[in-house]
């Protein structure tokens, strides 16, 4: 039986090596895909994180609020601040036009006298409080001069970015208000209490009581930073592995159409052995694809100035998950080849179903941004199981035990495809 299996494997290898189109689908297409998708997403990532979103800033206030907001936004990675348009100082009208034309994603206009209005309101509030007037805050709330900061928005700007931007502005305004309030309060207290020693110092204003620290929840001791490479390389590698369904199903149907299956069915060799020969070869192809894709992520992408792929801590986990993904992908290809009646049918069925499974599986768009219904469906895609497993290994520093669930699901999927193949094959032969 071993000789027969080896002969089948040899035949499959020869058929594959002589199928130039199939080879390009298996190896060149996914490598190109990884290059293109990573570069495209990385440049988008850079726009967001390195240079920042272009924002035009008009400070008509020229006082604390305007200065504080400008300083704060300039220090923020989120945006790239400019106070001029085409070399000329920006005005409300030119800023509106520039945002309309897409030159800037957002425009921020701080009105004249904004700081003065805040100062006036705060002083009144402090005076009332120190003079012992009840419910000063409630009374003053109705009388305050409101400060209106205008935000001009390009309709293409993402909601999440706008939320982040307005939240930053609120923080800066609140900070300025607190400072003014503290300063006014200190001045008033200093007048009442001549002993300067006991007067409140200005140190509170400079102190930062609450600090933020960004920490990625990873088991890995290495600082793995999520980036386009860490996301795209595993995603598109899984996509490429499942894409073998097309050449694999085509090879099954070619055998049918060329009459080889007729002869093979009359031979003293179980059909399962012939299928196993295909599975062995295509699983090896998947593993080669995986190694190639990883080498793209680790060697070639850094040559283009992109970050290198970090593999995490568990080589055993990677091997286990890759093996299970390879079996799941190969089983799927065998099933498509058995269910389809013509090569054309297999090509359409194979490519469309993989596009669908990959879209559902979070290859194109992360599943966490999907609506709940789609997220629930996504959990049924084998590509999603594999991707989640690789995220655990590559981003969260997971080990073998962390990806056992995904591995078992992928192997069960392989068994399910083999069962469907066996039933469909028996049905087709029962003419």
């Amino acid at each position: 039986m071993l000789h027969k299996l080896l002969a089948t494997v040899k035949k499959e290898v020869l058929l594959l090596l002589r199928d130039k189109v199939g080879l390009s689908i298996l190896f060149i297409m996914p490598m190109v895909l990884i290059f293109v998708m990573t570069l495209v997403q990385d440049s988008a990532f850079k726009t967001m994180n390195e240079k920042g979103i272009p924002v035009v800033f008009i400070d008509n206030d020229k006082d604390s609020l305007g200065i504080q907001i400008e300083r704060g936004l300039k220090a923020n990675d989120l945006c790239y601040l400019s106070d001029s348009i085409d070399g000329k100082p920006a005005s409300v009208e030119t800023a509106q036009k520039a945002v309309q034309e897409g030159k800037f994603l957002v425009g921020i206009v701080i009105p004249k006298g904004a700081t003065e209005a805040i100062r006036k309101n705060v002083t009144e509030l402090v005076n009332q409080t120190l003079n012992g007037e009840d419910s000063a805050i409630h009374k003053s709330a109705g009388k305050t001069d409101s400060v209106e900061i205008t935000i001009l928005i390009d309709p293409v700007a993402k909601k999440s970015f706008l939320i982040s931007m307005t939240s930053n502005l609120r923080e800066f305004i609140s900070e300025v208000k607190t400072k003014i309030m503290f300063q006014t309060f200190s001045e008033q207290v200093a007048e009442i209490i001549p002993d300067k020693q006991n007067a409140p110092t200005n140190s509170y204003q400079k102190s930062q009581i609450i600090k933020y620290k960004e920490l990625y929840a990873s088991k890995s001791e290495d600082k793995i930073v999520p980036n386009a490479v860490q996301h795209n390389v595993p995603a598109w590698t899984i996509f490429a592995m499942f894409f073998i369904a097309i050449p694999l199903s085509s090879s099954i149907l070619k055998e049918k159409n060329e009459g080889s299956v007729f002869r093979l069915h009359t031979m003293p060799t179980p059909y399962l052995l012939l299928v196993n020969g295909k599975i062995i070869v295509y699983v090896i192809v998947c593993l080669i694809q995986f190694v190639l894709m990883l080498s793209v992520g680790q060697i070639f992408l850094p040559m283009l100035g992109l970050p290198a792929l970090v593999l995490g801590n568990s080589i055993a986990g990677i091997m286990l998950l890759t093996g299970a993904t390879a079996f799941a992908a190969t089983g799927y290809g065998v099933m498509v080849g058995t269910l389809a009646s013509t090569e054309h049918q297999a090509a359409i069925m194979g490519s469309l179903s993989i596009l669908l499974l990959s879209a559902l599986g979070g290859i194109w768009v992360p599943s966490y941004v999907m609506p709940e219904v789609m997220r629930n469906i996504s959990a049924w895609s084998p590509l999603n199981w594999s991707l989640e497993g690789f995220y655990k290994l590559f981003l969260r520093g997971g080990h073998v035990s962390d990806v056992l669930g995904e591995t078992i699901k992928l192997l069960l999927f392989f068994l399910a495809t083999m069962t469907v193949t066996s039933i469909a094959n028996r049905k087709k032969r029962a003419v």
């Binding site: 035949k11 060329e258 007729f262």
Partner: protein, 250 residues
């Protein structure tokens, strides 16, 4: 030629799924060891269906098939090991060369190593394909492909060889070479079951023929017996045309 049957068929019927009429309607016959048995009939007569059942490609709807005293239900592997098939279509891989094709099919019959290599070399030499053995099959002429198709069915020296129109679309030279070697195989003890539209070829090649039409056997015997039983028929082709009513068939 031995008179012990190697193939016995009783009341064989096959109705395909969704078909209104059976393709084979309760046929019975026996084929003796070492015979060259011709199964002749117009298109759609039921020849290929009968051969497919005898090869174990699919089971009959009803009836009994015994190959060398065994049936497919209990001795599938043993029966498959003793039969060889040369299908009507070229059942080979066009992107592999002749040697690679034969190595694969020979291996599926359990041949390997020197035995497999010797058998391939021997047959390639006999059928004049040694020089072309390393060329992809897609570059072969129709006759060359037919010869490789034949070798793939005989490499393992089968006891029973099924030939489904082995010379269709082949030039006279290739046909002669094929027929000559089939006679050699038969002389070495292989029983041959053969279907063809070439009545002249069947008349000279077969030791016994059965004319089949619309799933039923019309007549059976040696070519000479059939010609003698039909007065005025100078050859097997006339007997065939008389029995099958000279109508065009699809």
């Amino acid at each position: 030629m031995s008179n012990t049957p190697i193939i016995e068929i009783e009341q064989l019927t096959k109705t395909f799924r969704h078909a209104t009429e059976p393709a084979v309607k309760g046929i019975s016959f026996a084929i003796n060891r070492n015979e060259i048995f011709g199964l002749l009939g117009p298109n759609g007569a039921g020849k290929t269906t009968t051969i497919s059942i005898l090869c174990g490609l699919f089971p009959p709807t009803s009836g009994k098939v015994m190959i060398n005293g065994q049936d497919f239900q209990t001795h599938s592997t043993e029966i498959r090991q003793m039969i060889g098939i040369v299908p009507q279509d070229i059942a080979l891989y066009p992107t592999l060369n002749a040697r690679e094709n034969l190595e694969f099919y020979g291996s599926m019959y359990g041949l390997y190593g020197r035995e497999l290599r010797n058998s391939i070399n021997d047959w390639l030499n006999k059928l004049g394909l040694t020089d072309a053995a390393k060329r992809k099959l897609s570059t072969y002429s129709g006759g060359m492909k037919r010869r490789v198709n034949l070798i793939a069915g005989v490499l393992h020296k089968p006891s029973i060889l099924f030939l489904d129109e082995p010379t269709v679309g082949v030039d006279v030279h290739s046909r002669n070479v094929i027929i000559q070697h089939l006679k050699e195989i038969n002389a070495q003890g292989t029983t041959i079951i053969y279907t063809s539209h070439h009545m002249e070829e069947a008349e000279t090649f077969c030791t016994r023929v059965s004319i089949i039409d619309q799933g039923k056997i019309l007549t059976q015997g040696t070519p000479a017996e059939l010609i003698n039983n039909h007065p005025g028929a100078p050859n097997l082709e006339t007997v065939f045309l008389n029995l099958t009513k000279r109508k065009l068939r699809d």
